[in-house]
Amino acid sequence: MHRYIPNTDADKKRMLDTIGVNSVEDLFHDIPKELRLERPLKVEGPLSEMEMTKHMKELTSKNKGVDELVSFLGAGAYDHYIPSIVKHLAMRSEFYTAYTPYQPEISQGTLQVIFEYQTMMSNLTGMDVSNASMYDGGTACVEAAMMAVEATRRASIVVSKTVNPEVRKILKTYMKFREVEVIEVDMADGVTDLDKLKAVVDKTTAGVIIQSPNFFGIIEDVVEVEKLVHENKANLIMSVDPISLGLLKSPGELGADIVVGEAQALGNALNFGGPHLGFIATKSKLVRKMPGRIVGQSEDVEGKRAFVLTLQAREQHIRRFKATSNICSNQALNALMASIYLITMGKKGLKEVALQSTQKAHYAFNQLTQNGKIKPLFNKPFFKEFAVTSGVEASHINNELLKNNIIGGYQLDQAYPELNNGLLFCVTEKRTKAEIDQLVGLLEVIS
C-alpha cells in the first residue's frame, strides 16, 4: 500500500461489497483483454523520500547554476535578485494546490492576486488592461499577433529582426499553421531599419512587432515606427522587459496598442527555462480580442466587493471551434510570484533595480571596450545588455571563462551568423564591481 493512497484492504473490501463486485479487476472488465498491459511499467522506483532526495542530489551535482557560477548571460532569461519572502508566500499551499478560480466564493485569494497583478501590469506598461498572464513571452507575442490579425482582419505580421530570435521562431511556427504571413525586417546598427520597415508596412499589415530594449539590449526609438504603423491602421505590438520599465518610458506613452513580454525577471527563478510567465496588456478597445483569463471586480449578494473571472465568452470553452486562441490556463502561481515581487520592490525598488542594472552594464561595457581588443558591435543606447565582438571565437572565450567559474555571454552567431565572434553580455544588479572587474581581467588575457 502506498503512502499517498489511504484506503486499507478492509476499506477496499467494503467498497467492493457496496458496488457488488468481487475484486478491483472486475471494474476493468470493459477493457478488452488484448488492450491490457500484462507487464509492469518500465519506470524506476518506488523510492522512499530519503532515496529520492539522494538521487536528486546526485543529479544536481551534475549541474552548475548561477548560484555557483557568476553569470553574464541573459538573452531572454534574467538573473535578478528574488526577495526571500517571494518563495515563503508563494509556497502557501492554499495558493498552489488550488485549481483555476471557477468557484469564486472560495477562490477570492487567487482572484484578488490576479486583480492586483492586472493592475500593476497595466500601470507598468501604461495600458488600460492586462490579462491574468500567459505561458511565456514567446507565446504572449504570438497571441498579440493573432489579436492584431483578428482586430484588422488582415493576415500579415511584420517583425523586426532585433526581436528575440527564440520568440521569432515560435511566432513563425504558429503563423505557419494559421496561414498568416510573417515578414522579418532587417536591422541597421543593432536597431530596426526604419527605411526597410517603411518598405514593407502597408494597408495589409495587421501588426508590427518591435522589442525594446531589443535583443541586443538597445533601446529602440519607436516614435517614427508608431507613426508609420498607425498611418496604415495596423497595430503596434511592443515586447518589453518589465524591469526596464522602472526607468524607461512605458509602451503606453509611446503609443503601443498591445504590449507583451517575458516577466520571469519579476521574482521568478530561472528554473532552466520554465515555468516562467508571459504578460499581455492592451487598450480598452481591444479587450474583447485579448486571450486568456481576465479577473473583474464585482459584488456578492450582500454588496461586498468580490472578484470573479469575467468576459469568459472570449474563451475556448465557450467559443469552441470558433476560438482564435486555445489557451486555457494561465501561469497563476508565477503571476503570484511576480505580484509579490512588484509589491515588495515597490515604485522605488523597481527603479533602483533598473538603475543599478543599467549602471553596472555600462560600467562593464566601458571597462571591456577600453583596450580596443573587445569592440562594441553597435553604437546605440542600451539598458542592461550589450553586444561586443573580438578577434577570438565566442565559444573559445566562453570556454575559458567557464574554467574560471564564469558563465559568459550569449553567442550571437547562433541566431545572427553575420555577427561573427559576437557576444551579448548581460549585467544585472546582482553583479558586483569585483565580479565585473574579474570578467574584464580574464577577457584581457583571452581575447
Binding site: 489511504p6 523520500e49 544536481t60 547554476g65 483555476t100 484578488q112 493592475t119 520554465g274 469575467t310 523597481l350
Partner: protein, 482 residues
C-alpha cells in the same frame, strides 16, 4: 477568521519599503548621461509602497480566502485534483535546478537534461509511445503541438487534402479550439446514447480529407470506449491519425496504454495524472508523445544521448518548429519525475485501480439520490445529471450549497451532452471516510432540495464571499484598481 478586505494599493503609504538591495558599487554618474532623456520615464511607476510585514500579512490573509487540495476534498471531474506530495516541491526547489539558466553550456546542465531524458522515456512507456517532447506548457498547448505534428505528417507525404479534424460532441472545449488554432476545419460528431463514439456517425464523415480524430479514453463521461480498436482501424484505414487527449489518464496507468489502443499522438497533463499542483490555474505541463514514424516532427530541441552526454538536438529538418521559450516547464517536470519515482510501477497501477474503485463506490451510493444517465461501470470519474428533470433545483445550486459544507464542488455543466451535468472525480488519494462524508452531504443536499429549494437557490451562506454577480462584472468591466 478576521475579515480582511484590503487591496494592497489601499494600504500603501508613501515612504514605506519592503526591499533591500546592496549599495551600488560602480559610479557611473547620472542615468541621463547613459541613456538619452527622451527614452526615460518622467514619473515613477505607480506601484505600492508597503513594508515587509504588510506584504506578508496581505498574502497570508489572501491565502486564507482560498481553497486548495490541502484544504479539503476537491472532486473536480476531468481535473484530477489528487494530493500534491510535498517531497515533489522540495525536489523542484533544489538550488541545483532552480538556478540553471536555460542557455548555459550543456556540460553545466547534464543533471537537468538527464531528468528530462528519463522522464521522456518513462512517459513514453506509460503511454505506449516512442518518444515524448516535454516542451508544451499545458494540456491545450500539448494538443496544439500534437495537431501541428499531425498536419506536418500529412503534408510531408504530399497528402495536402487533409484539413479536417473530427471531434466528438462530448469533447472538452480545448479540442475544437485547438484544432481551429492549428488551422483545421472541425467536424463534430454526435455521441451514441452511452456517450461513446457513434460508429455510424464516424463512418459517415471519414474520407480522404480527414486528418485525424481527437478522443479521450476513458471518455469525458468516465466510460471506457470498448470499441476503441474498431475506431482506430476505421480512422487509420481512411488515412487519418488518432489523437489521445490525456485528461483521463489517471484511470489506466499500468493497466492499458493509448499506444496499444491504436492512438498515434497523445498529450499528458503532468498537473493532473502526475500529481503536480495546479497552482491556482497554472503552471501546468502538457508533454506530447508520438509513435515511431512521427518522431521527426516533434518540436525542437529534442534531448538526445550521445557518447554518454545529453545534448539538445536542434538539427531536425522535419520538426514542426518551436512552440515555447526554451524547453518547457522544467520545474513541473521535476515534480512529475519525483512522483513517478516515488510511486514506482506498482504504485502507479495501484493509483489508477484505486481511483476507479473510489469513483465506482461513489457512483453506486449517489445514484439512488441523483440522476445517473448512464448506469454502467465507470473508470476514474462519473457524470450525474443533477436531481433529474422534475427538480427545480439546478446543478449550480447544488454546487453552491456544497460550498457551505466545506467542499469544492465537482465540475458542473460539462460534458455538454449531459443535461445539468455534475462530474465527480474523487482520485485515489482520498480515504473512504472522506468519500463517505461527501456522499452523505450530497444526500443531505438532495433532501434539502425537496424540502426547501430556496435554501439552495440562495446558497452559499457560510463562505467569505457569497454568490457573486457575474453579469455586473462583465458590464462594469473593472479590471484594475484605480
Amino acid at each position: 477568521m478576521r475579515k480582511y478586505d484590503h487591496l494592497i494599493f489601499e494600504i500603501s503609504k508613501e515612504g514605506r519599503k519592503a526591499y533591500s538591495l546592496p549599495i551600488n558599487d560602480v559610479d557611473m554618474g547620472k542615468v541621463e548621461d547613459l541613456i538619452p532623456e527622451a527614452f526615460l520615464a518622467e514619473k515613477e511607476v505607480d506601484l505600492p509602497e508597503v513594508s515587509e510585514i504588510d506584504v506578508v500579512r496581505h498574502f497570508t490573509n489572501l491565502s486564507n480566502k482560498n481553497y486548495g487540495v490541502d484544504t479539503g476534498f476537491y472532486p473536480l471531474g476531468s481535473c484530477t485534483m489528487k494530493y500534491n506530495p510535498k517531497i515533489n516541491e522540495d525536489m523542484a526547489a533544489l538550488d541545483g535546478f532552480t538556478s540553471l539558466h536555460p542557455l548555459q553550456p550543456e556540460e553545466t546542465v547534464q543533471g537537468a537534461l538527464e531528468v528530462m531524458y528519463k522522464l521522456d522515456e518513462m512517459l513514453a512507456d506509460i503511454a505506449g509511445m516512442e518518444r515524448v517532447s516535454l516542451q508544451p506548457a499545458a494540456g491545450s498547448h500539448g494538443e496544439l503541438a500534437g495537431l501541428m505534428i499531425i498536419k506536418s505528417y500529412h503534408e510531408s507525404r504530399g497528402d495536402l487534402k487533409r484539413k479536417k479534424i473530427i471531434v466528438p460532441d462530448s469533447a472538452h472545449g480545448t479540442n475544437p479550439a485547438t484544432a481551429a488554432v492549428a488551422g483545421f476545419e472541425i467536424i463534430e460528431i454526435k455521441s451514441d446514447k452511452n456517450g461513446a463514439v457513434d460508429l455510424d456517425a464516424l463512418k459517415a464523415v471519414l474520407n480522404d480529407e480527414i486528418a485525424g480524430l481527437m478522443l479521450t479514453n476513458p471518455s469525458t463521461l468516465g466510460l471506457f470506449e470498448t470499441n476503441i480498436k474498431v475506431i482506430a482501424d476505421l480512422v487509420h484505414e481512411a488515412g487519418g491519425l488518432l489523437y489521445y487527449d490525456g485528461a483521463n489518464m489517471n484511470a489506466i496507468m499500468g493497466l492499458s496504454r493509448p499506444g496499444d489502443m491504436g492512438f498515434d499522438v497523445i498529450h499528458f497533463n503532468l498537473h493532473k495524472t502526475f500529481s503536480t499542483p495546479h497552482g491556482g490555474g497554472g503552471p501546468g505541463s502538457g508533454p506530447v508523445g508520438v509513435r515511431a514514424d512521427l518522431v521527426p516532427f516533434l518540436p525542437v530541441p529534442v534531448i538526445e544521448k550521445k557518447d554518454d552526454k545529453y545534448i539538445l538536438d536542434y538539427d531536425r529538418p522535419q520538426t514542426i518548429g518551436k512552440i515555447k521559450n526554451f524547453y518547457g516547464n522544467f520545474g513541473v517536470m521535476l515534480r512529475a519525475y519525483t512522483y513517478i519515482l516515488t510511486m514506482g510501477p506498482e504504485g502507479l497501477k495501484e493509483a489508477s485501480e484505486t481511483a476507479v474503485l473510489n469513483a465506482n463506490y461513489m457512483m453506486k451510493r449517489l445514484k439512488e439520490y441523483y440522476y445517473l444517465p448512464i448506469d454502467q461501470t465507470c473508470k476514474h470519474e462519473f457524470v450525474l445529471g443533477g436531481l433529474g428533470k422534475d427538480s427545480e433545483v439546478t446543478t449550480l445550486d447544488i454546487a453552491k450549497r456544497l460550498l457551505d459544507y466545506g467542499y469544492h464542488p465537482p465540475t458542473i455543466y460539462f460534458p455538454l451532452i449531459v443535461n445539468q451535468a455534475i462530474m465527480v472525480e474523487p482520485t485515489e488519494t482520498e480515504s473512504l471516510e472522506t468519500l463517505d462524508s461527501f456522499i452523505d452531504t450530497m444526500i443531505k443536499i438532495a433532501g434539502e432540495a425537496k424540502e426547501d429549494p430556496n435554501l439552495l437557490k440562495n446558497a452559499p451562506y457560510n463562505t467569505l464571499a457569497r454568490r457573486i454577480d457575474e453579469v455586473k462584472a462583465a458590464k462594469d468591466l473593472i479590471l484594475k484598481w484605480s
